[in-house]
Amino acid sequence: MSPLNEAQPERRAVPSERVMLARVALDAALRVTGVVSGDAGRFGTWVTADGEERLPGVLVTARAGGGFAVELHLVAQVVPLHPLAERIREQVARAAAGAGLADVLGNVDVTFEDVVERAEVGLP
């Protein structure tokens, strides 16, 4: 019988395509001016987990036809949200292409869960 420490599964050094896409999409979205944070939801269901790490506000799911659909749940500033969503999609598409994930990127659905005023996030 092998010792207990040898029985522990080794954590993958390279994350899956799904997790990489989640990280790329969330990072890209958070870089867009007007986006404040990701929202994990009241029950913490809007997260992508990679072992111990949690990416709050992004959910990436495999599509039947191949590739992945991305759901972003975000908190934004009080700005026009439709143009903001378009900028987020563009930024995610660019970032995915830069990471070599353009082929697996499907629809990017953006949900604005809440808004905050500039003063609430310390902006003048």
Binding site: L81, H82, A85, R89, N107, V108, D109, V110, F112
Partner: protein, 153 residues
């Protein structure tokens, strides 16, 4: 489709918009969903920033808010009290309860609130605002709190 059903919750008796129009919130690259909380908050911000509005909410809600503030507990929806919204696929309807500064013209304040709420919601969310119903619940006297009879404008 779950998004579709979640996005078409407009109460009967209220216009739900032309179904043939394409929504600016649905694109080929994905959909944009705006939570009711967002519309509620934008409506609250718009109402509060209108001149002549002292506060939002009914007497009980404001009293509860005052107590929670004194004991140092901030309720999450404190800033949105007195606001109720119904959000459809392309339209929203807003119900507001406000307290007006004594001396202001209530019809003018109500008109200003209505205009600002419509402008801010349409500008921020892209939703068309079908109606803004306003209940003036109280008047505020400087240095005094006195209850007046409610009145719908």
């Amino acid at each position: 489709m779950p998004e579709e059903s979640a996005q078409t919750r407009v109460a009967s008796g209220r216009s739900s918009g032309s179904r043939g129009d394409s929504s600016p919130l649905a694109t080929e690259r994905g959909t944009t969903t705006i939570n009711d909380t967002v519309v509620t908050k934008v409506a609250a911000i718009a109402a509060r920033e209108t001149s002549g509005v002292y506060d939002l909410g009914g007497g009980a809600a404001r009293a509860l808010g005052s107590v929670s503030e004194r004991v140092g507990v901030t309720m999450s929806d404190e800033r949105s009290r007195g606001v109720s919204v119904e959000v459809g696929e392309r339209e929203a309807a807003v119900d507001l309860t406000i307290v007006v500064e004594y001396g202001e013209s209530i019809p003018q304040v109500a008109d200003a609130v209505r205009g600002n709420v419509i402008k801010r919601i349409e500008g921020t969310t892209g939703l068309s605002v079908a109606e803004v119903n306003i209940v003036v619940n109280d008047l505020h006297f400087p240095g005094d709190v006195q209850t007046e009879e409610s009145r719908v404008v």
